[in-house]
């Protein structure tokens, strides 16, 4: 009985299940795919997935605040385009970075204004800006071929090596840590949770929910802009349609990591584990020589199973913590935060 309750306690810690699934998958692939555990190959595919890790951070803020941002993928692509364009015109690398980040911020601001001030549904607004950003990139690439800057400084933004990892990966790590701290420790982060749990109670307790959402969309846009800069610097060429569909991978990753689309529940590191799960799955299947046409099916099934398991565990954790109130103050605390 005592053992059972200990097991329950461990399962109830949020994120443990997806982490366990991730570890199991890594073990499975390292046994079945020869080159899976080679450091270079790991570094390579993690490096490729950095833009997704960066947009998922902003997306997590938006989803926890009870919103959704579908525009991040194509905003990332457009920011990659604008920053590379500026760099190709001969501007120094820091101007290109600023232009890329501000492209993202501009779209974040636009989303935020229409959603929070004009009160239009977030799904529709960000769907519209998805089109607008993707279209803007098409218009740019129709006029100018974005096939590479000569500025080595711009290229080095993403491809410097430090302690065996590329600067892209370091940027992603720093962003994850900083924004996780903001989300979990700062007053703004608490307001994000409160807004997502329920706008009315949050309003009653004196939180400006619209301003909180405004901030979340700005963060999402700004990070998409920065992700675009990194991608442009890494690829050093931008075509129309770049990063289209990233938003779906990011949303799927976040949901797999237990970020609730209903708002008010989740954390950055869990969303990252979810995204890592999806990218590792693709990489492993690729190395096993599975027909790439199956990937979409496997990813779809994974999302379904992941969400069902996550919901089951969450319900289990709730009943457990209400039944044995005295044993686990930790879960009760977590419940207070994430309910």
């Amino acid at each position: 009985m005592r053992n059972q309750s200990k097991l329950s306690k461990i399962i109830s810690i949020e994120g443990v299940v997806i982490l366990a699934a991730f570890v199991l998958m890594v073990i499975f692939f390292s046994l079945n795919a020869d080159s899976f555990l080679i450091p270079d190959s790991i570094r390579y595919y993690i490096n490729e997935a950095v833009p997704i890790f960066i947009i998922i951070v902003g997306l997590t803020f938006v989803i926890i605040a009870g919103g959704i941002d579908l525009s991040i993928g194509s905003v990332l692509g457009l920011s990659a385009g604008t920053s590379l364009m500026v760099s190709m015109w001969g501007w120094p690398f820091w101007v290109a970075v600023i232009v890329g980040v501000f492209t993202g911020l501009a779209f974040g601001l636009f989303n935020a204004v229409i959603i929070t001030i004009f009160k239009v549904n977030d799904f529709i607004v960000t769907l519209g800006t998805l089109y607008i950003a993707a279209g803007a990139l098409t218009v740019i690439t129709d006029k100018i071929q974005l096939i590479g800057t000569k500025d080595t400084n711009f290229q080095r933004i993403s491809d410097m090596s430090f302690l065996g990892l590329t600067s892209s990966i370091w940027f992603a790590l720093v962003i994850v840590v900083i924004f996780e701290l903001i989300l979990l420790k700062s007053p703004f982060g608490r307001r994000v949770f409160a807004t997502g749990i329920g706008e009315v109670p949050a309003l009653i307790s004196g939180i400006n929910t619209q301003r909180t959402k405004f901030g979340a969309y700005l963060i999402s846009g700004g990070l998409a802009g920065f992700g675009g800069v990194l991608l442009a610097s890494h690829l050093n060429s931008v075509q129309s349609g770049l990063a289209g569909g990233y938003e779906l991978t990011a949303i799927a990753g976040a949901v797999l990591g237990g970020v609730s689309l209903a708002g008010g529940r989740g954390s950055v590191w869990r969303a990252i584990v979810g995204a890592l799960f999806l990218t590792t799955l693709n990489q492993g299947l690729l190395l096993m020589g599975v027909n790439p046409l199956i990937f979409q099916i496997v990813t779809g099934l994974c999302i379904l199973v992941g969400v069902v398991v996550d919901r089951g565990v969450y319900k289990f954790a709730l009943t457990f913590s209400t039944q044995t109130r005295e044993v686990n103050s930790q879960i009760l605390d977590r419940k207070k935060v994430s309910l």
Binding site: L127, T138, L293, L304
Partner: protein, 336 residues
């Protein structure tokens, strides 16, 4: 004095009814666009161009009607595009093996409806959010047709009858079979939504699932039926598009879910559920198609198309919003 008030009220009420109509904003926008185009662009109001527009809006119309039903019930179906692709593939492939047309179409319809049922069951019985469940079935459907065709378009299934069904050959003047089917489905669906118990329950479930359940409505069954209807209409769109394009590339349905959602929402359906009309879905489909047509006619480079579409989507929703606020304000003033 009393009579006076009554009279002013009744005249107000007609004005209010027009102003408060959920589609007033978008109709006004369309009217302005059509008027401007008729004056400025001589090739716009020609018979040929009008039939072009109507033919081009058929596929999205089917999907948008299905999407509207799902949105009314408080759901969201991202899988319609890939369901359309799968059923188009089924129709084309079965026909190319010499199956009788009716049987092949029945298979396509059954598979479309089956995908819808699966969506509904996953969402209601497993409790997965609509967005995620249908996103997963979108991926699975697209993966299935890619794997099945190995990326090669399906072709060689066209026969004389299919040219009529696809609308490539007209039955009388500019009238084609798809047009008749759209009209029949629209009228039938509008009657179901407005005049039947099922329609009432759909709106009830979308407005407030808890109150609907308390009132004795089987919420799960209603939601599942909504998704089944959406799947069925996606299959009809699939059969139609296979005939219209005469080949089925595996990614034929890509992006259609977005057009369908956009059309339904432009037509006044709400992602919060409980709102939406068939006529709205058709107006939305018309708006999207007209936008594309106008872009082509006035010679804007086609690379601008996505920007204009996105702006029209946001603009139309803002216009609907503004008109309903305006209507509510005048209504209040009329009352006081």
């Amino acid at each position: 004095m009393k009579l006076n008030i009554a009279a002013s009220n009744s005249s107000k009420s007609l004005r209010n009814r027009i102003l408060q109509d959920p589609s007033f904003g978008i109709v006004a926008l369309l009217a302005v666009a059509i008027l401007a185009m008729t004056v400025l662009e001589p090739s716009f109001a020609t018979g040929g161009n009008v039939t072009n527009i109507i033919n081009a809006m058929m596929t999205v119309s089917f999907l948008a009607i299905g999407m509207t039903v799902v949105l009314i019930a408080g759901g969201l179906d991202l899988s319609v595009g890939s369901t359309m692709a799968v059923t188009a593939g089924v129709a084309g492939n079965f026909l190319s093996y010499g199956m009788p047309m009716g049987v092949a179409f029945l298979w396509a319809l059954a598979i479309g409806m089956g995908i819808g049922l699966i969506n509904g069951l996953i969402i209601t019985k497993l409790g997965i959010p609509d967005f995620i469940a249908t996103l997963a079935t979108l991926g699975i459907g697209q993966g299935v047709i890619l794997l099945w065709t190995q990326g090669v378009p399906i072709l060689g299934y066209m026969n004389d009858a299919y040219y009529y069904i696809g609308g490539l050959k007209k039955i009388a003047g500019p009238i084609s079979i798809p047009m008749i089917v759209v009209v029949v489905i629209s009228v039938g669906m509008a009657i179901i939504l407005k005049r039947t118990k099922f329609g009432l329950e759909l709106y009830a479930v979308g407005s407030s699932p808890i109150s609907a359940r308390n009132a004795g409505v089987n919420v799960d069954a209603i939601k599942i039926s909504a998704y089944a209807i959406s799947g069925l209409l996606a299959a009809i769109a699939g059969i139609h598009i296979a005939g219209r394009t005469t080949t089925v590339p595996p990614l034929i349905g890509k992006g259609y879910e977005i057009s369908a959602i956009a059309a339904a929402v432009i037509g006044g359906a709400s992602l919060l559920g409980g709102k939406g009309r068939v006529i709205g879905a058709l107006l939305g489909a018309l708006t999207l198609t007209l936008t594309r047509n106008i872009i082509n006619l006035i010679g804007i480079e086609s690379s601008w198309q996505a920007i204009v579409t996105g702006s029209v989507l946001i603009g139309a929703v803002l216009a609907n919003r503004a008109s309903s606020e305006f209507g509510r304000k005048t209504f209040r003033r009329g009352k006081s």
